[in-house]
Amino acid sequence: MSDAAAIKSNNWQSSILFSLFVPLFYFAAIFCYIRWRLDPALIYQCQVPPFLWDDQFFTRFLEFPGGLVIYLSHLFSQFYYFPVSGALILTACLFFTFLLSRAIIKHFFPKLKNSLAAYLPSIFTLILLSQYEHPLSYTLAWLLSQLFFVLYLKIQCMSAFIRFLAFMLQVSVLYYAAAGFYLLFAAMAILTEILFKKSLLLGAVYSLFMLGIPQLAQSAFILTTKSAYFYLLLPIYDYRPFLTPYILYLYFPLLLVLAQSGLLDSINRFVFHRIQYRIAIVFLFLLTGLAALLSFDSTMYKVLKVDYLARQREWHKLLTFVEKRPSDDILVAYQTNRALYHLGRLSSDMFSFNQNWRVNGLFLPDEARKFFSIQVSDLYWDMAFLNESEHWAQEDHSNYSFGPRHLQRMATISILKGNTSLATMCLDALAKTILYRDWAYDHKKYIDYPELVDTNSYFVYLQDMQITKNFIITSGYPEHDMDMLLQINPENVAAFEYLMAYYLLTFRLGEFIAKLQSATCLKEPYFPRHYQEAILVYLHSTQWRERESLWDGIHVKTVAQFNDFTKILRRYNGDAYTAQDELKKKYGHTYWYYSLFNNPETRQKSS
């Protein structure tokens, strides 16, 4: 075999390698990354995209430019719920990004069609998809604009008039389907005409049409000038890699400009050898790995994972996850406390977990409640406080229309309250979803046969817990609501434990003791661990020892530990901060430690 033939054979093999096997392995690796690292179920948890198979729901998306892409985005995003199908969808998006990029590059730079240049847009898109808030609509709109450009390139050999007609049609369709992304297509078509076809006139006409179409749209749709031009194109979120979308948008236009300026001529003349292909492959994988590593939002991952586990009521897994991967996020603290309550550990283990958010970690503050409305509804659901749970489900409806979680909650509460018309509405809507259809059909039995409510033990519990006496809810003072719930129904364990936790976190031990003494829902011979610890702190600080009934509920082991705690403190002459390391090591999970280092009064006394 001659040298020339050997080189040709090598190039052919390399070309096969790069055009077939590399993409195969590359996208298989990306699938694994999305499936096991990113976890599409968490994207679903973050976005909860609403979707109904319903004419009315669909019609809403026809009322504004970009609606079609958003509708498709909602439809596909449903499948994020299942990690495998979600990963397949996202990988497919990246694969199509690659295919379209390769087609564009092949048109302008045939020798680069299998090079890194064809993969770069996929890498940028991967960075964007790594953001849990990133709506699929952006990616779909970008893909659509590139697809239209590839189609436009296919008719380059036709007359200017045909190209003009095609452009008009494409821009109009693209504007309606993908809003601001029409600008990308139009800009690339204009550059192609001016730089490569040398048709200044056509370029000018295209530019006029590009600038004019949003003006026309403003007479047909309700749009401000800014949204008429840029809706969907400008990311609405603060992306961590905030430049990435713009790099992606400008990538091909810049490439076209560089190509025309002659800067890429040397690349076109370049002949790849096998070794260079191999280096390129390694570089491609390294670059993608680096992009994935840097763009992965581990903080968000933790928050969403905890919220996801709470949604699935996987309380054990939630606590294990939080123990392994602690977080300072308020939602993590909130869901951790809910998990502790559900496992019966709130009163005995809450100080083993981060309580830096104090009361806000129990109830969420007002500003967070508006955002995490369904999570607030969940808490009141735990407390069988149906009015407030319904109220926050409705807040969630205002926040995220047609969210399945609030529809489920509203349906269930309406069944329990006997409001069958509203329950039917919610179940009818859920029956039109992809994921909650079965749930809806299952719950319709409670409407058709109301007597079945009595066969559901949790429903029976909730009905038993119902309050008949009204009071005004004071959301700024949740302890008041808990107290009222308890006054009406002393057996409401959730309200009791949350109220006691509130007293502990705010160091209101007098009220804590009073409530403890009147409690009827404590059945064990000894008080829960934190209650014992708090009683000892209270008795110690008030020198109030004659309360024998309280002593009965305290285990001797707890008393011994308390004595040890105070002994350590005394050894450091009462200087809490010097003693902190040792105290943390032995008693970091106790109320004494929390109280000492978080209560200004105790700290003052100890010092």
Binding site: Q218, H391, E395, Q466, I472
Partner: protein
């Protein structure tokens, strides 16, 4: 040979098919049927009504069992419309429907329903009377989610009641904020106003004679902007309430509630941009709200309750807030006010009055009464009442339900009312119409017809503040948005010269109070 045979074969086939179609295979050719002496269940309930002669098809779903259905719609025993359907969803074609209504004003239109479930069953027919008087053709209303503390997009929509077409009047999608209180001058959309709350677009949008302006109605007297409005018939002055409100929630029963902590009524002059303060409408001892001008412009109706004390305890005292219904005479020529009179004493009825609306012919006053407060749509006790202004007799409307009713308005011919009701689902308000006859009797109410009535089942938005207008709104949403966002050209109202300010009640300083939402 082949060419000659083809036409013959084709003719034979065609004739056979035609015969088959005409003779025996029509699945809706009903000769044998069982008769049921009960009326069929349909949704929405469009039975035994008085309906306008210009209303779009009142499509419905038959709730009776059946594989196929036939609906006959006729007047005076003449078959007019025959609607076979393979589903229980009955869609009436608009053109013949409107033709029947138009040609038979004052008569009764009958509906005969047949259902096939193995055999045909004919249900007892029901009829709806076609009123001689049309309803104003356009309806404007808010379309929004519950919006308790979270505010998302809300819209003001306009609906052509005759053609069923709907369009947007305004949306908050492109501006942050809340839009409310759209009001028209005597059912004429040429002069209209609405408010935008919060954000850069905040202000009162007033459109008159094709000109749109944004006004900040706050003055040294009223730190809150104008809220519930009423145009004076002269088309120049607008009476506004200015309110400090508090939203709160109940632990049992109806969840959401709102009360006013303070309120007054001011007069805004749209040409001079001045605010006139009348002592009888801004008393320190009372909260005045819900102004409504009589059609002759010589009386202002409103509601008032004793001003809350500084030590007002919401938990204990909210049920004690009860509003009287008031009338204040006014001379438009001299711009002088007369002597205030109380039309309905809350102390006598035990109920609280709100939202008075005088019929355009000046004969009736439609208003709400509820157990307490002035936000009836959150109170299941809220019902509509009508007062004859000739003899001050009051009666409760038969069109009420067990659920809250309120936010009502009149058509320009005083024969139709539209109001909101929660009777469907207790959360999301829907719009209901009722015919009011010459004696002031309101007939059975019916829900706003939709092309697809089943859409109500998955519609999680509230329809509220319905207002009937004679013509479509001549302004485009974009015009409103442009004016709303044009901060530079917004105008600020001024107090009329010579206005003396009195101190405001201390309760207004409550930290949880907000301006009218």
């Amino acid at each position: 040979m082949k060419t000659k045979l083809l036409p013959i074969l084709f003719s034979f086939y065609f004739t056979q098919t035609l015969c088959a179609l005409l003779s025996c295979s029509n699945p809706y050719n009903i000769s044998n049927y069982e008769i049921k002496e009960t009326s069929p269940q349909i949704e929405p309930d469009y039975t035994n009504l008085v309906i306008p002669p210009n209303i779009a098809p009142m499509n419905f779903t038959i709730l009776e069992k059946g594989e196929k259905f036939l609906v006959k719609i006729y007047v005076d025993s003449n078959d007019v419309l025959r609607l076979p359907s393979r589903t229980p969803r009955i869609k009436i074609p608009p053109a013949p429907w409107l033709k029947i209504l138009n040609h038979n004003k004052g008569k009764t239109i009958y509906f005969e329903i047949f259902a096939y479930d193995g055999k045909w069953t004919k249900y007892k027919r029901f009829g709806n009377k076609i009123a001689p008087e049309p309803i104003d053709r356009y309806l404007v209303y808010r379309f929004l989610r519950p919006n308790y503390t979270v505010q998302k997009e809300m819209q003001i929509r306009q609906r052509d009641l005759q053609s069923d077409k709907e369009s947007l009047v305004m949306t908050t999608k492109t501006i942050a904020g809340c839009i409310n209180c759209h009001t028209f001058h005597q059912n004429d959309p040429d002069k209209m106003l609405f408010h935008i709350r919060w954000g850069a677009a905040a202000g009162t949008i007033i459109a008159k004679k094709k000109h749109i302006a944004k006004i900040d109605t706050r003055t040294d007297f009223n730190q809150s902007p104008g809220a519930y409005p009423s145009w004076h018939p002269n088309g120049i002055a607008v009476a506004f309430s200015v309110n400090k409100v508090q939203q709160f929630f109940h632990a049992a029963g109806n969840s959401r509630d709102v009360i006013d902590l303070t309120s007054d009524i001011i007069m805004y002059q749209t040409e001079s941009h001045t605010v006139v303060v009348e002592p009888q409408l801004t008393s320190r001892s009372y909260m005045e709200t819900f102004p409504d001008w009589s059609p002759d412009g010589r009386s202002l109706y409103f509601c008032r309750a004793p001003q809350l004390e500084a030590d007002f305890d919401l938990d204990q005292d909210y049920r004690t807030i009860k509003y009287d219904l008031m009338r204040l005479p006014y001379n438009p020529d001299t711009e002088e006010w007369g002597r205030l009179e109380t039309l309905v004493f809350a102390s006598e009825t035990g109920l609280s009055c709100s939202q008075p609306r005088v019929s355009p012919d000046g004969k009736f006053l439609l208003f709400c009464m509820a157990e307490y407060g002035n936000f009836p749509i959150f109170h299941s006790s809220a019902d509509l009442y009508i007062m004859s202004l000739e003899n001050n007799q009051i009666h409760r409307l038969g069109a009420n339900s067990d659920a809250p009713e309120g936010f009502h308005s009149w058509s320009s011919n005083s024969r139709w009312i539209v109001f909101t009701s929660k009777r469907d689902n207790t959360i999301f308000t829907r719009l209901y119409f009722s015919y009011v006859d010459q004696q002031g009797v309101a007939h059975k109410a019916f829900i706003l017809p939709l092309q697809e009535p089943e859409n109500y089942r998955t519609n999680f938005n509230a329809y509220s503040v319905p207002e009937l207008i004679k013509n479509p709104i001549p302004y485009r949403p974009q015009q409103f948005i442009d004016v709303a966002l044009d901060v530079e050209h917004a105008q600020r109202a001024q107090l009329a010269p010579g206005t003396v300010l009195s101190p405001q009640p201390e309760i207004a300083d409550s930290p949880s109070a907000t301006d009218f939402p």
